[in-house]
């Protein structure tokens, strides 16, 4: 069994028209035993910047803490908000530093650039190879199901409400076909003037 499947979890992020959305399931389990149904893997790092860290839960927490530390130092030194591309480069470096003893997470980054409001999504493998596509990114134990759902459902220039429906259905249906993901979901829709956090009703099995 892969170490990334020890705790389970799934994260997906999509680009829309002047908005991005990121969604996570809420299960925390130890192999087959579900321990908590309130463990979202997406964290808000900046006003319009979110990072999802699915994988081994201990590394999720450690990497989140180290990222927060590095980001705080950056914002204090530079006296400005960090851009998503820069954040992505920082995370990639942090993960590559551990090239021969990696953190077991495959992160997803979603955000709006604070200066020109361009949407941005990025995902990485566990050693920090970045992938910045124009459409969507997926990660977690049901990534193959998520690829299938997103390829079918995503289309360009979705408005925030439409993007919410698309990303929620992609996550919920993919997680239904994975025993160790699901048990609740949270979706964040990030626009330039507001962030909407919605807890989605899912199957609890």
């Amino acid at each position: 069994m892969s170490i990334l499947a020890y705790n389970g979890g799934a994260v997906v992020a999509m680009r829309g028209q002047d908005c991005v959305a990121i969604a996570t399931d809420k299960r925390f389990g130890i192999q087959a035993q579900t321990v908590s149904t309130n463990f979202p893997k997406v964290y808000r790092m900046g006003p319009t910047l979110f990072v999802g860290l699915p994988g081994l839960a201990t590394d999720t927490q450690t990497v989140h803490q180290r990222l927060k530390f590095r980001m705080n130092l950056y914002e204090l030194k530079e006296n400005r908000v960090m851009r998503p591309k820069t954040f992505s480069a920082m995370l990639s470096n942090m993960l590559y530093e551990k090239r021969f003893g990696p953190y077991f997470i495959e992160p997803v980054i979603a955000g709006l650039d604070p200066y020109d409001n361009q949407p941005y999504v990025c995902n990485m493998d566990l050693i920090g190879c970045p992938n910045e596509p124009e459409d969507f990114v997926v990660s977690g134990t049901c990534s193959e199901q998520l690829y299938g759902m997103c390829e079918a459902l995503w289309e360009p220039n979705l408005k925030p409400d439409e993007l919410f429906e698309t990303i929620s259905q992609a996550l919920v249906n993919a997680a239904d076909r994975d025993a160790i993901s699901g048990w609740g979901a949270v979706v964040y829709i990030i626009e330039k003037d507001k962030i909407t956090e919605k807890h989605v009703k899912t199957r609890m099995d």
């Binding site: 530093e97 190879c129 992938n131 596509p133 003037d193 909407t196 009703k201």
Partner: protein
């Protein structure tokens, strides 16, 4: 105020902090997952006026395509680019590290850096890590001694050749080169040959796919990076729309976080006609 978790000045280079834990997990039956590889077809040729590099754009994680349009031709210097095959993070980071070393060298010496320098820096680094950094590279560039193509293998060996191919699609591409390469080709012939070699890799090798990227580095003038020289595989048009009507997804609770938006609006102002004020007597 340093701690073990976040040392104040982190030591440069790789950190082996997690190795003991990861070895323990592997021993308990949880092996580490595979990293993204680039399957890949990468090529480089020397033609009459310089070098041409080519690459496909598919990145895979086992058999799943994780990136349909990744960039495999990495910038090293104004006169040198490097295609990378193997573990994607390794090729990305290795080329970035060497690019910054080359820039320092350029500033230090005040000259264009020779292509041989890049090959030496790369091979020294890769040999030091005994092949554990899985980067197989085709380095191409032009310096004062002319155009050069180097093949650099993950264990640190270097081949200097007039035409080279690397990656899982290298056999398909090399077949095209062996049939079609000749010395002193024109730029158009060279681009066509490189395009054909990459296409051979894309259509015959499962680890390569999507589009053809080309980079032309001439003896005179800057390098020309033709990202998506040819979109060899166009995604079909979707026949249906799978949008869900609003309200399909059941929401348990919702919260809106408003954000302060600072916007600057510039209005042109007309100059006003002002009557001269009456002077006091």
């Amino acid at each position: 105020m340093a701690s073990v978790l976040v040392p104040e000045v982190p030591a440069p280079g790789f950190s082996f902090e997690n190795c003991q834990r990861n070895a323990f997990l592997a021993q308990k039956g949880f092996p580490a997952p595979k990293a993204t590889k680039t399957g890949t077809t990468i090529v480089g040729i020397i033609y009459a006026d310089g070098v041409i590099l080519g690459a496909d754009t598919r990145a895979t994680e086992n058999t799943v395509v994780s990136d349909k349009n990744c960039q495999k031709i990495h910038y090293l210097a104004g006169n040198m680019y490097c295609c990378g095959a193997g573990t994607a993070a390794d090729t990305e980071m290795t080329t970035q590290t060497v690019a910054s070393q080359l820039e320092l060298q350029r500033l230090h010496t005040g000259r264009t850096v020779p292509v041989e320098t890049a090959a030496t820096l790369l091979k020294r680094m890769l040999f030091r890590y005994q092949g554990y950094i899985g980067a197989a590279l085709v380095l191409g560039g032009v310096d004062r001694t002319g155009p050069h193509i180097y093949c650099i293998y993950p264990h640190g060996s270097v081949d200097k050749l007039p035409y080279a191919t690397m990656g899982s699609g290298s056999l398909a591409a090399m077949a095209v080169f062996e049939a079609g390469w000749k010395p002193n080709m024109t730029e158009e012939e060279g681009k066509k040959l490189v395009r054909d070699a990459i296409a051979a890799g894309i259509f015959n090798d499962l680890g390569s796919g999507s589009n053809v990227d080309i980079c032309v580095i001439r003896n005179t003038g800057p390098a020309q990076y033709l990202r998506t020289y040819e979109e060899a595989n166009v995604k079909g048009k979707k026949q249906g729309s799978y949008r869900y009507p609003a309200g399909t997804t059941a929401v348990l609770k919702q919260r809106v976080i408003p954000l302060e938006v600072e916007s600057v609006a510039v209005h042109p102002v007309q100059a006003m006609e002002v009557e001269p004020s009456p002077s006091r007597r």
